[in-house]
């Protein structure tokens, strides 16, 4: 699986070396993926860290109020119960058994108690045997036998006791506070007071308190002592096992039956078996955060989408630029290669010309001598036959003459001739050149036009060489017109136009002659390439090219077959090598 994945990515991101559309596609893909990864990864990491950090803070923010609520409620309950117990204990210690056994007295005390404290329901005095010997309250409980009851035993052992809530005879939840008394004279009795749990409920959940927090008391059997929002009314059993609790508040996370998470603060109430439970669902605290998170998620996804789009556009732009520069480089290399080729062909041609010149000279001289001998009558023979021989020898001479023309032009291209530099106006050179060709152009019905829309600056160059260049170009244009019989109704023209281009002068020679095919265009500057069958040497454009190069310029050609040809010669105002020489 991993290997396959690796192979997939290797394939997807392998950048081909060759300059091809696939190369740039892959490059773009790779760079986009990299850029998106580099920008999105920190964003996601940051988001994740912030999220978890914020969650932690939020939980702390939630725990603190819960804990403080639990502590406050705990303190209030302890105060309330302690006060009740102290009051009962005070009465038990303030009066003797005889006093309390008298129901009138007991009633008076009970009424005094009720006037000061709310919630007391009844009051009874239980003697050593467990029988209630005196009772004040709404029920007929005098004489009730509590012998052997657990609460009585606990009271006797501990001295004071608070019972869990129960219904008992009274029919509504209440609890009993009992105090055991051992008098100096040996009398042993227990004072028990019942109080309803309504006050506890009020302390635990004061009116107007937010109802999303559930506060209730549970005894050690898991029975609710006060009403709970979540788990029902008092005296019902809570549906789960409460963990062991300490007096110090402890916060626990708990998953409820409804699947929600709850935070639970747990603590005991001093002097009782009660545990105070404060429960709050987690999600209520997180509700604002969840709303915010949804918005933030939109922002993040929007941001990522934006990054992807921008990266894609940026990389497309970059790769396009890269491609353009690559293509330019390839073109420059091709041009350089072309120049190199022409230059080596030139050297080769010149070398051949050198070697051919000597034998040509020998042939010429031998033929000349033979002619001399014939015409100077050094050899006898028939006059007619001699004439024939002279003609043949003249044929040899003219052929050598032709060959000489070729070798001399080749040498002319190759030699490092002294280029005479002078400041000149190219308009003048062109006008002069046109002067040579005017008659021929007129004979052929071709219009020669020279157009210089602005005065051109002076140029440092070689007058003779430039003349040669324009003579070749315009002469070729004339030939192209002569051979062209296509659009007879159209006026045939050769337009020469010169303009300044920065530090160069650009001269175009345009004709509406027969034009050239791609094949011809490819070879046009090569030596011995001619389309003029027997007429041309195939060296004209080759030499023109060489001269323009030597003058520090360059020549380009555009042509459409049947439409015409445009040559453009660009010459620097100052040749690159002049400053160094001067």
């Amino acid at each position: 699986m991993l290997d396959r994945l690796k192979a997939y990515f290797a394939r997807a991101f392998e950048v081909p070396d060759a300059v091809s559309p696939a190369r740039y596609e892959t490059l773009k893909r790779l760079m986009t993926v990299l850029m998106v990864t580099v920008s999105v990864a920190p964003l996601l990491i940051l988001t994740f860290i912030s999220h978890s950090q914020y969650m932690q803070t939020l939980e702390g923010e939630m725990e603190n109020p819960l804990e403080s609520l639990a502590r406050k409620t705990q303190a209030a309950l302890e105060l309330y119960l302690g006060e009740r117990v102290s009051t009962v204990s005070f009465m038990a210690h303030a009066y003797h058994l005889q006093t309390l056994s008298d129901e009138h007295t007991l009633n008076r005390i009970f009424l005094a108690l009720k006037s000061q404290y709310q919630g007391f329901v009844d009051m009874g005095l239980v003697d050593k045997t467990g029988r209630q010997i005196a009772y004040v309250g709404p029920y007929q409980l005098k004489g009730a036998d509590y012998a052997g009851k657990q609460w009585l035993k606990d009271t006797e052992i501990r001295g004071r006791y608070i019972s869990p809530a129960f219904l008992g005879y009274r029919g509504y939840p209440h609890l009993v506070i009992a105090v055991h008394r051992l008098e100096e004279n040996g009398a042993e009795w227990t004072l028990r007071v019942a109080t309803d749990t309504l006050r506890l409920q009020q302390i635990a959940v004061p009116d107007g308190k937010s109802r999303d927090t559930d506060v209730f008391l549970v005894d050690n059997q898991g029975v609710l002592q006060t009403d709970s929002i979540l788990y029902g009314k008092a005296l019902e059993k809570i549906p789960f096992q409460l963990p062991h609790a300490l007096h110090d508040t402890e916060i626990i996370r708990k998953e409820g039956d409804d699947g929600r998470m709850y935070l639970m603060a747990l603590c005991t109430i001093e002097g009782t078996d009660f545990r105070l439970v404060t429960i709050k669902p987690v999600d209520t605290a997180f509700r604002p955060w969840l709303a915010l998170r949804a918005e933030l998620l939109w922002v993040i996804f929007g941001g990522i989408a934006l990054i992807v789009i921008v990266s894609n556009l940026l990389m497309r732009h970059l790769v396009d630029r890269l491609r353009a520069s690559d293509e330019r480089r390839v073109a420059v290399f091709a041009q350089m290669e072309h120049n190199q080729k022409l230059s080596s062909i030139g050297r080769l041609a010149a070398g051949v010309a050198h070697e051919v010149n000597n034998p040509l000279a020998v042939i010429l001289e031998k033929a000349g001598l033979a002619q001399d001998l014939l015409t100077m009558n050094k050899i006898g023979g028939d006059e007619k036959e001699k004439q024939t021989l002279v003609k043949l020898l003249q044929g040899i001479e003219s052929t050598v003459e032709r060959a000489r023309g070729i070798t001399h032009r080749l040498l002319g291209f190759a030699r490092r001739m002294e280029v005479s530099r002078q400041a000149l106006h190219i308009e003048e050179v062109i006008e002069e050149t046109l002067g040579f060709l005017e008659r021929e152009a007129r004979n052929r019905g071709v219009l020669l036009e020279a157009d210089f829309p602005e005065p051109l600056p002076e140029l440092i160059s070689d007058r003779g060489q430039l003349q040669q260049v324009f003579l070749n170009l315009i002469g070729n244009a004339l030939d192209a017109q002569a051979e062209f019989r296509g659009k007879t109704n159209e006026a045939r023209f050769i337009r020469i136009r010169g303009v300044t281009e920065g530090q160069c002068i650009s001269v175009t020679v345009a004709d509406n002659g027969k034009g050239m095919s791609q094949e011809v265009l490819r070879h046009i500057f090569e030596p011995f390439y001619s389309t003029k069958k027997n007429k041309g040497t195939g060296l004209g454009m080759f030499i023109t090219y060489g001269i323009v190069q030597k003058l520090g310029g360059h020549i380009t050609v555009e042509s459409t077959e049947g439409e015409g040809t445009t040559f453009t010669v660009v010459l620097p105002l100052t040749p690159p090598d002049v400053s160094g020489e001067a």
Binding site: H354, N357, L360, V362, L364, E365, L369, A403, R404, E418
Partner: protein
């Protein structure tokens, strides 16, 4: 009396034929085949004009022309070579030649230049 010419060229076939044609036209021609010989012949015979090839064994044409011009500044010298004569800036001895001709060359042109060179040499000689 015809002009006395000295031809120096290692291309024997060429130089011998040329000499014969010149002799047919009443020139007094001496032929040598290398630069050193050319210097020797020029010193002993003092020809009216010297024709030198540029590339020869022994002493090359440009060296020969330098020495000749040193000894006989008035003696006209013509260079005749299959190669292109090179003189980029006018400092080479080649520039001291009356003419620098490239082979092959039409005979009558050659004769015309020879005549011109000798004529000019005499004129300047007279002027001096």
């Amino acid at each position: 009396m015809g002009l006395r010419l000295l031809l120096a060229d290692d291309e024997r076939d060429f130089v011998d034929t040329l000499a014969e044609r010149l002799r047919l036209r009443d020139y007094e021609v001496q032929v040598v085949y290398d630069g050193a010989e050319a210097i020797r012949a020029a010193t002993s015979n003092k020809p009216d004009l010297v024709v030198l090839d540029l590339y020869m064994p022994g002493l090359a044409g440009d060296e020969a022309i330098k020495q000749l011009k040193m000894m006989y500044p008035a003696m006209p010298i013509i260079l005749l070579t299959g190669h292109q004569a090179v003189d980029d800036n006018g400092t080479s001895p080649v520039s001291q030649a009356f003419a620098c001709l490239t082979k092959p060359l039409a005979f009558k042109d050659f004769v015309a230049i020879v005549e011109a060179a000798v004529r000019e040499g005499t004129t300047t000689g007279r002027g001096e």
